[in-house]
Amino acid sequence: MKNVFATKWGIVLTGGIIGILAALLQLWGNPANMGICVACFVRDATGALGLHRAAVVQYLRPEILGFVLGAFVAAYLFKEFRPRAGSAPLVRFVLGFFSMIGALVFLGCPWRALLRLAGGDWNALLGLLGLAVGIWIGTIFLKKGFNLGPARKTYSAVGWIFPLIMAGLLVIMLLNPQVAGQDKNGVLFYSIEGPGSLHAPLIISLVVGLGIGFLAQRSRFCTMGATRDLILFKQPHLFFGLIGFTAAAFIMNLILKQFNPGFTGQPVAHTMHIWNFAGMVLAGLAFTLAGGCPGRQLFLSGEGDSDAAVFVIGMVAGAAFAHNFGLASSAAGATSGGITALIIGFVVCLLIGFTMREKMRA
């Protein structure tokens, strides 16, 4: 059966729909220029579970749960559910960890970098440039034979674990809903101020997340793969999706009067250009070595790829470290701890890139 979403117009449409929904999510309550940010939302979810205690970024974002569950449903419906495991999971954990550190020094994943640009935050240009450089470094390793090795087919139950964890978190959220003015209900923390307090209604976030998860699984939408394939193969397919995403978000922002151009005073952003750039170089490199942007890792987790799920858990650990030890940037800028963590991250990712090469198999 022909997969219409895997065509050129399919991927443009998918990107466009996600861009429109991202802008709308901001209208419906999500933070400015953060309709969707996979890194930030994983970080918020980490905080909601109390794994970090930064009170301003604690909310179990239903979009994240929806991404995984939507991809899970799509994969099952179209017989693409492929339980697999065993492609260097610990390495993927470490890459997930440092991708999160890089993203939180910049304050956004590639999705949010594009949304920040579409909202007029010119600091995003530094982040996107850094992202491209990080991906470019990653492609050099790929050309030199970098490879985390094959995954193996495994029990269906293995592929079910991560979607079930997401379903479990959703149940926990429904049993412990937010109570106005209260920073905790049962086991879940809820921000009462800051970005974590800004969110669309639960049901809207969940439905949008499910829809995006479904579409992205069908279309293979990936913000890292877009640039990687362009550099590595001169293959623009995924890049069309990225253009659709950014253009749609930009147009929607103009319509909704959410476009505010400038460098200073941008929401949940700082103006330290060098660290905006360097943070995303690290994130881009880590995504490339791991084979997907954070969104794509969630969608892969939904279709049974348990190595991608380990990457996501690495991101959770990265977020917990970032906020427990003051590594994440704030509107005031990057922190000295964050800069140290970036340097460590570069060393680790380069070591991974240099040491995990095999002779080209044919």
């Binding site: 997969n3 790929l142 094959p150 995954a151 293959q235 397919h237 084979g291 044919a362």
Partner: protein
């Protein structure tokens, strides 16, 4: 004798890199590529087409797909 690329278990971009390397090596004729995800099948087909190869045949296998790529001399 067919040229074989076994990319099963590998996630993209590896199957595409391996296929393109093989295309560079053999230049024309027939290449069989084994993949185990739909994403890899789509990506390998797209890459082959962009290099002027046609996907002559796709056979479902127990674990994935067997793609036959062709380019006339």
């Amino acid at each position: 004798m067919n040229q074989l690329v076994d990319a099963r278990g590998l996630s993209c971009p590896q199957p595409v890199i391996m296929t393109l390397n093989k295309i560079k090596e053999v230049k024309e004729g027939e290449i069989v590529v084994l993949v185990d995800t739909e994403t890899a099948r789509e990506n390998v087909s797209r890459a082959a087409n962009s290099k002027g190869w046609t996907v002559a045949d796709i056979q479902p296998e127990e674990e994935g797909h067997r793609l036959t790529l062709k380019k006339e001399g």
